[in-house]
């Protein structure tokens, strides 16, 4: 006898067995516990029941299959219907998240929880600060085991927008991650978002690759210095090069403002000394911008022939574009 079949709390429910169709492909030989629990869930969903026993049932199914989006969404709607304490749910979700690092559904569930909770605390700065602190603390814990976890980062970007965390402490926590690994591109990417999407000054709807006149000059200077310092640490690290280009683009500043800096890592005129292919790429774009197409062409040719031959086709395409212009 199954767990639910013999439980008086469930004797009013007739489980609905799974219809797999005849000769089903990739049919899964479910463990009895899972098949039974899912039979009860189908019955509950069909009856649109939202009760506390649904919470127990969904905990059990999620423990066997954390990727079951239907169960997560049904659980969320039950939590809201029952007015189940959100804080308690977040604590449970923390445990599940730590045990299932790759899981996608958990992070959407968490987002639904915060969306639901937010209106009730939005006018209470203390409660908001407390929520922000506990959320960031948990994300930091997640990053301890995988600091590039895509779902966790996406959730963090959601959280920043939701709780308006475009602030110094967010920048600081990014710096801590970059201190451990300056090649962590997820952290660079998050920094760019924090700095250039801050609604205090950023133009709403400004594309990430577009000039935004709203960005303060001092901020641009600061970000340029930050990326340059990182490039000095490891010149072949592409993350800060991409960041530097992104900052210059946002600020509407020509690449030529960084010619001296980039030349530290790539010289191709009288003497040839290249320490970073990204520097050479940067200089090629810079010289093209300045109309020095011959120098740009030489840089691109060197990249294709010598310093970065895997991308020869790409560098050649760039050379053709120089000539066409």
């Amino acid at each position: 006898m199954g767990k639910y079949e013999g439980d008086p709390a469930w004797d009013d429910v007739v489980p609905i067995p799974q219809d797999d169709g005849e000769g089903a492909l990739a049919q899964i030989a479910y463990a009895d516990e899972y098949a039974e629990a899912m039979g009860y869930l189908r019955a509950i969903v069909a009856a649109k029941e939202h009760s506390s026993r649904v919470l127990d049932l969904t905990v059990e199914i999620i423990s066997m299959n954390p990727a079951h989006y239907t169960v997560w969404l049904y659980r969320a709607s039950t939590i809201f219907a029952l007015d189940h304490p959100i804080q308690q749910e977040i604590e449970w979700v923390n445990e599940v998240a730590l045990d299932n690092e790759k899981n996608y559904q958990i992070w959407h569930h968490r987002q639904l929880l915060i969306d639901h909770l937010y209106p009730s605390i939005s006018s209470d700065p203390v409660a908001l600060q407390k929520l922000a602190n506990s959320e960031i603390a948990f994300l930091t814990l997640m990053f301890n085991s995988d600091s590039k976890n895509y779902h966790v980062w996406s959730y963090r970007q959601y959280l920043v927008r939701k709780l308006n965390l475009f602030n110094a402490s967010e920048i600081k926590s990014i710096e801590a991650l970059l201190k451990v690994d300056v090649r962590n591109n997820s952290a660079w990417s998050h920094r760019f978002f924090i700095v250039f999407s801050n609604p205090e000054y950023a133009t709403p709807g400004s594309a990430a690759t577009a000039y935004d006149p709203g960005i303060p000059d001092a901020l641009l200077d600061c970000e340029i210095e930050f990326s340059k310092a990182a490039i000095f640490e490891a010149p072949q690290n592409q993350s800060p090069w991409n960041y530097l280009r992104g900052v210059l683009r946002k600020g509407g500043r020509p690449l030529a403002t960084q010619e001296c800096f980039a030349s530290e890592f790539a010289k191709i005129e009288s003497e040839e000394e290249v320490k970073s292919s990204h520097a050479l790429d940067f200089l090629a774009d810079l010289w093209n911008e300045e109309g020095e197409t011959e120098k740009a062409d030489k840089a691109l040719k060197l990249l294709g022939d010598k310093y970065d031959p895997i991308r020869k086709n790409y560098w050649e395409w760039r050379r053709k574009a120089l000539k066409a212009a």
Binding site: D19, E22, Y34, Y69, S147, S189, I310, K312
Partner: protein, 539 residues
């Protein structure tokens, strides 16, 4: 069992011999990297982009017990290795000339991956009985085909973690099998029986019977039905309910949720337009859609603008605005745009093309030759499609349309030497054939040598191989059986890429896979034609 033990013995002996050679030639090759290490299920290893998440580690660890016995014959000592090595370009044999001294977790993982791949890339892996003159092994079709057939059989209990993503198993297997030239019509009846109870009356398909409709399994099932083909298979889809359900997923900002109340991301944008285009659905937004207003009258209103918001400062594309650029989402975004319009018109209209091409280009690594999904992450075979599949779309964008008149049903494939390529086809083909094949355990393709194969990687590595072996052109004049809404993706023609010398053996060329729909050439066209002719109105 005895055979298995014997096979293992041979395997070990060969490994020992080649390892000795490897050490002579490459002092930097660590001894443990001459043989694929078993997957230790390290939780820190980020598996590749998965359009619907499976816990790949869990599945990898449980399917080990299904390993086929090693069938490999004792390999001859590789007397031609030195000659062969001379034919492998330096860029695939040597470490990058730029190696910063600063040591971090990222650089350690990268160095480890290079060490793991080098023996495979330099023609020294004992896994292969044969390397050709250019240092490439054969595509082991027989094993990969057997692996995919097996993935459609009854699966053991630990696959429960895939219970909500099971329709992907159908698509990955059917797509992979047809890419290798297999006839899959034998699966038509069973597929129909399997998916009928998964379709919901309120429109769309879920991950299984009784599960909520979700765009990922709906996409996978639609493509699977299209692949097995036939009116009966396509006719089981409830188009009208599908249209109404898509209306419920449409968001006021232009994008689509994956399921009602689920996440909104660029996968949703891609899956939705694939469904609208293949089923030839009306574009009007159902009036009961939560997104409907007079300024949002259609399913496509503000959709390309929403996709545009997913381009990041790096030039790549993310799952939703504000996040990090990622290969899987880049393909979804570009393919979505190429359904909405002609590549040379729609991509430049919504994206910064020079930054996009720069970012895509940076995804290819040397010496590995394969693609990584994000800046400073590792190569993974599945990006052979997610990034590799971006190239035909982007190349068509920068090149513009071809005006050659092809007949829709022409079977004479033209050929090209591949000039005008933006990436290294050779690098990708080398990574796929040398590093992504499991030829000693259960067959199938994989992320990288230290990972087990699975049907997800098998499908997308093969799609990437196909893309690298063929050239797709966007053709203004050819509309293969399609007119009306969202007809752009039916304007593609394909050519063989034939280069002298060709590095892989011609028998290892796989079939052509449509650059937008990722189904065999002709399948999308036939599907659209079916729905255009049989379903002019609501059926």
């Amino acid at each position: 069992m005895a055979f298995l033990v014997k096979g293992n013995k041979h395997h070990k002996r060969v490994v020992f011999q080649t390892r000795a050679m490897a050490e002579k030639q490459h002092l930097t090759v660590s001894s443990s990297s001459a043989k694929p290490a078993p997957n230790l299920g390290s939780k820190n290893q980020q598996s590749g982009f998965i359009i619907e998440e499976l816990s790949q580690d869990d599945i990898e660890s449980i399917t080990d017990e299904n390993c086929l016995p090693s069938l490999s014959q004792p390999a001859p000592i590789m007397s031609a290795a030195t000659a062969r090595a001379a034919m492998i370009p330096e860029v695939f044999k040597n470490l990058s000339p730029f190696r910063d001294l600063l040591n971090t977790q990222t650089s350690q993982a990268q160095d480890k991956t290079v060490q793991e791949c080098l023996p495979f890339l330099s023609g020294e892996s004992a896994d292969f009985k044969y390397y050709n003159y250019h240092g490439l092994p054969h595509l082991d079709r027989k094993r990969h085909i057997a692996f995919l057939h097996k993935s459609l059989k009854k699966l053991p209990a630990p696959y429960v973690v895939a219970d909500a993503a099971r329709p992907w198993m159908f698509y990955w297997a059917l797509s992979g099998l047809t890419t290798m030239g297999e006839d899959v019509s034998e699966y038509r009846k069973r597929l129909m029986n399997t998916v009928r109870p998964i379709q919901n009356e309120s429109g769309g398909f879920g991950g299984g019977n009784g599960q909520m409709s979700h765009l990922a399994p709906t996409y996978a099932i639609l493509l699977s039905l299209a692949i097995v083909g036939g009116d009966e298979a396509l006719g089981l889809i409830d188009r009208k309910a599908m249209w109404k359900w898509l209306g419920r997923l449409k968001q006021p900002d232009g994008g689509f949720q994956m399921s009602v109340g689920g996440e909104e991301d660029v996968r949703g944008a891609y899956c939705a337009v694939v469904i609208i285009s293949l089923l030839n659905l009306p574009l009007d937004l159902p009036r009961d859609s939560p997104a409907w207003t007079e300024s949002v009258p259609t399913l496509l209103t503000n959709l390309p603008e929403w996709v545009a918001r997913c381009q990041t400062f790096e030039g790549g594309i993310t799952c939703k605005p504000d996040a990090e650029a990622h290969g899987g989402y880049a393909f979804c975004a570009l393919a979505c745009l190429c359904i909405l319009g002609e590549p040379h018109v729609v991509i430049p209209k919504y994206l910064d093309v020079p930054r996009l091409v720069s970012w895509l280009s940076a995804r290819q690594y040397s010496p590995e030759g394969g693609f990584a999904g994000r800046t400073n992450k590792l190569v993974d075979g599945c990006y052979s499609h997610w990034i590799g599949g971006c190239w035909p779309l982007v190349e068509a964008c920068v090149k513009g349309p071809t005006m050659v008149s092809h007949h829709a049903k022409s079977t004479n494939l033209g050929s090209t030497d591949g000039s005008g390529d933006l990436y290294s086809r050779e690098g990708l083909i080398r990574y796929i054939l040398c590093c992504c094949q499991d030829v000693v355990k259960r067959g199938g393709l994989r992320d990288k040598p230290s990972h087990n194969s699975d049907s997800y990687h098998t499908c997308y590595v093969l799609a990437g191989l196909s893309s690298a072996q063929h050239k797709w052109n966007f053709n203004h004049l050819t509309a293969k059986g399609a007119s009306g809404n969202l007809a752009s993706p039916y304007h593609w023609n394909v050519e063989h890429v034939i280069r002298q010398p060709q590095i892989y053996d011609e028998e290892d060329r796989v079939e052509t896979v449509h650059p937008v729909f990722v189904v065999p050439e002709g399948v999308a066209e036939a599907t659209r034609a079916y729905f255009a002719t049989t379903c002019a109105g609501w059926d």
